[in-house]
Amino acid sequence: MSETYIVRSSAIAARLLAGEMMVMNSADSTFFTLNEVATAIWQAADGRTPLREIVREQVCEQFDIDPEQAQADAEQFVADLSKHGILLVSDNPMSAESAR
């Protein structure tokens, strides 16, 4: 089974406000706020940790969510943010430096 790796784009601005991550893409000024679960995935998006592992360790263990549902939600979240160029997705590990 192939793994999915995610890394934050270096073109974004981000800051935590009361537990929720504000994220803005400078390229098109799209602005998001991420809830606590999405924030946990975002913070773990280092390009080296597989998404499945992030979901297991950062989501299921900390938020008491059904693993299958969590994985499906995470994949949807990753697809949405990658559409806006905010998260980059690959089948192989990536470095943060390459995240343009």
């Binding site: 601005a13 981000a14 800051r15 935590l16 406000l17 009361a18 400078s26 390229a27 000024s29």
Partner: protein, 368 residues
């Protein structure tokens, strides 16, 4: 309410400094006739001090960071500062006259993924622009820079400060911005110089002319709403606060002094001597600014404009009291709506005074 407004309100309610404006230098390569700054270097923060301050701002929750001056590119380390700010994931906006920006600099700014860049243009006529900046060929260099930046896909906006020498030129600058494919903003605010010299206030657009500006649909699209007579204030309006200054926004000078706003010269602390969060959370001055609700205003609480006025507490402070009226805003409210303000009525005026005796406080300079 947009998501951005919701976030702004949340930061305001929580007392989080969501946005900071930092001037990295007061030095400048232009000598604009209306500028209030002292351009000599009295001991600017070093690169390391600015980076340290930025680290603290990130930790405090600052998201929107405006870097300006003076002319920020006068600092040889400006790109290093921007790079550090971006590494700390700030949303960075740069304000500049752009005369030092060529193709290479524009490319570098694009690579650093800054959010936007605001550039001062005073006229579409080179002679008028150059006479205001007192720098020969500045118009030509600035416009070239606008093109370089635009070609890099950066969001550029032209800021047009309106005053008597360029009063007739806002149409031309607006048209120029449209031709260049960039945004346009207009600002009629002129403030006294830092040494207290108020002579530059003579450059302010006279009130009668403001009326023409406000009632111009090309400059103010939502005419009906903007120029409508004020609605009677509700209890909620009287419980409200003036603006984000000191609540979710502050200003840091090149010397590390922290103020509630660029236009609110009340010293509250210095990041060279204190931690930013200690200043933000503990400064008695900031606490006082935050405590003032519309109902506490000495004159404006009884003014029919209180809920819609752009009253600037910083300009009011310069006029003598942060709880008092700001004559420049009384003037704007009057010429916007035709309805006299409480400040005018108590002085028996049928038209607002055109200038008020403002005092700009000299920031506390600290040697490096």
């Amino acid at each position: 309410m947009s998501l951005m407004s919701e976030v702004g309100q949340k930061a305001f309610n929580l007392g989080v400094p969501l946005a900071v404006h930092m001037d990295v230098t007061y030095r400048c390569n232009e000598r604009c006739v209306h500028c209030y700054l002292d351009h000599d270097d009295h001991g600017e923060m070093t690169t390391a001090e600015i980076k340290g301050a930025l680290d603290q701002l990130a930790e405090a929750g600052v998201f929107f960071l405006t870097l300006s001056g003076g002319e920020p590119f006068m600092r040889r380390d400006f790109f290093e500062i921007v790079e550090h700010a971006r590494r700390q994931l700030f949303n960075v906006k740069v304000k500049t006259n752009a005369v030092m920006i060529g193709a290479a600099e524009a490319q570098k700014l694009r690579a650093l993924s800054i959010d936007s860049i605001q550039i001062s243009v005073y006229s579409h006529r080179p002679a008028v622009h150059d006479a205001i900046t007192k720098l020969p060929h500045s118009f030509e260099r600035t416009i070239k820079a606008v093109q370089f930046l635009r070609d890099q896909g950066l969001r550029v906006s032209i800021a047009n400060v309106l005053m008597t020498p360029n009063l007739a030129d806002h149409y031309g600058v607006q048209k120029l911005a449209a031709e260049l494919g960039v945004n346009y903003t207009l600002d009629p605010t002129i403030t006294p110089m830092m040494d207290g010299d108020t002579s530059i206030l003579a450059l302010r657009v006279p009130g009668e002319e403001l009326e023409e500006v406000f009632r111009n649909p090309a400059l103010v699209p939502n005419q009906e709403e903007f120029c409508a007579p004020p609605k009677p204030p509700s209890d909620e309006d009287l419980e409200g606060y003036s603006c984000s200054a000191g609540h979710s926004f502050c200003y840091i000078s090149p010397y590390g002094d922290v103020f509630p706003c660029v236009q609110f010269p009340l010293p509250t602390g210095n990041v060279r001597r204190q931690k930013f969060l200690d200043i933000w959370n503990l400064s008695p001055q900031l606490k006082e600014v935050r405590s003032i609700q519309a109902k506490d205003l000495t004159v404006c609480s009884s003014c029919s404009h209180v809920s819609s006025c752009s009253r600037c507490p910083g300009l009011a402070y310069m006029e003598g009291s942060m709880r008092g009226p700001s004559t420049a805003d009384c003037e704007k409210s009057f010429y916007r709506t035709g309805v006299p303000t409480a400040n005018m009525l108590r002085q028996g005026l049928s038209k607002p005074r055109t200038t008020a005796p403002l005092v700009q406080i000299q920031p506390v300079a600290v040697s490096a």
